[in-house]
Symmetry: C2
Subunit: 229 residues, 2 copies
DNA sequence: TGACGTGGGATCGTATACAATTTTCGCCTA
DNA sequence: TAGGCGAAAATTGTATACGATCCCACGTCA
């Protein structure tokens, strides 16, 4: 975790933003422990502020706090991973449909700029940044749909998707989903809600298929079992 | 706010539970201000704990906190009210379908007991309690579907529905939705997912139709306008 | 030598003290 | 008497102090 020096409206929000970004970009891996004093030193605030930030992120599912054990980046189970993508499958397609109805030329321009940035990040080999931008793309669609409630849920689901991807991503190279994003923008630009809904549904299924969510066979139950040659 | 004396696993969780229940039962109305010291005195804890509880509830949308102004029970706008029910319409029908596949006899018994309690509360004229139980019924279905992620979202949406109902409910007497709940249980008991999904969809539309979510015409813009006879 | 217990350091949980901001109310003036 | 100014009270925001719990290493004893 590098030195982070930023000024924000609220110290708490700033810490949340910085830590969340680090998780989204996979600079903070699932399982990483976040000691309060350490975060205090990094941001130059008291534990009061840091604890507010950590609790807030825990409520969003990004961190896990166990009593007297501190906070760590969450490690979603297989079941949780499935649930996250099932929830996204319920929310995002119809949101894309609504966005198609409302998208302004400025919105389309912004989305295209987003895709540009994704490409640039991929070209520079910054996979983490590309992943974060990909998430932002999905969020932007909810914003265009003008659905703040769903947008808030989606923000949470996309955050947790980052964790799922960190844990269960199959091939490390291929993150070539910008094709799908491009097709989506086309549908949005032409106001074709039905197409946007179907494309989003397919895109999410595609993402899901690139995860390795098969049940791991449980490791040896006993030490004796583990050592049996 | 009455005296609340309960022991819970965590003080914070206890306060959240008590305050949330009070909001659900409409004993705490939208707009009510919650001063920290007041809550401290009621529960016999320090402000540290109370502030944790208030912030947590604010993140769920139940309270609104403005900097240096304190916390109050949220007053959802018309737009927010629409969004809450739109989100429920996306999540609940398919959750009911999933629940129909998984419901055990014990689950059905529990749901029927729920409906009994609702009836009893209505008979005793405790409208607030009946409303809370009605919300719990919907949550129970998500629990049966074994979808913890969606259940968490639904918990939030149902909480906020309580606020919407407090603000926009049309007739104060008729809360006769137990018919709908009964039909839903029948569908769940017979494992008919399709029927459960449709019933839930209809039930939510029915609820929505009982709200008065028409746009209020804006009041006179100027004082002069307001005084014009 | 290894298992167990114990002490100290590290870390988290809660309460309190202090600072900043807002609200209230009395007083003065036009 | 209405309005505005200002000081004090009330309330929230942040930091710090203290207590509880956990973790690890060291030492003792079989």
């Amino acid at each position: 975790m590098d030195a982070i020096t930023e000024s924000s409206k609220s110290s708490v929000d700033g810490i949340i933003a910085a830590l969340t970004e680090a998780v989204h970009e996979h600079r903070l891996q699932p399982g990483t422990k976040l000691r309060e004093d350490e975060v205090c030193a990094l941001f130059g605030v008291s534990r009061t502020i840091v604890r507010q930030a950590l609790r807030s992120m825990a409520q969003e599912g990004l961190l896990t706090i166990r009593k007297n054990k501190g906070a760590m980046v969450s490690q979603p189970s297989l079941k949780e991973a499935h649930e996250v993508f099932q929830a996204r499958a319920l929310l995002e397609p119809s949101t894309a449909r609504a966005a198609a109805q409302r998208a302004s030329p400025e919105d389309i321009a912004r989305l295209n700029a987003h895709i540009e940035n994704e490409h640039a990040a991929v070209d520079r080999g910054e996979a983490g940044l590309a992943l974060k931008l990909s998430g932002d793309f999905h969020l932007e669609i909810a914003r265009i749909a003008d659905q703040q409630t769903i947008e808030a849920f989606l923000r949470q689901l996309i955050s947790r998707s980052s964790l799922v991807i960190a844990l269960y991503w199959r091939r490390r190279n291929a993150l070539c989903e910008s094709h799908a994003h491009h097709a989506l923008v086309d549908a949005l630009a032409s106001g074709d809600g039905e197409a946007a809904e179907q494309l989003m549904k397919g895109h999410l299924l595609d993402l899901l298929s690139q995860l390795d969510l098969r049940e791991r066979e449980a490791g040896p139950a006993t030490l004796r079992e583990a050592l049996k040659r």
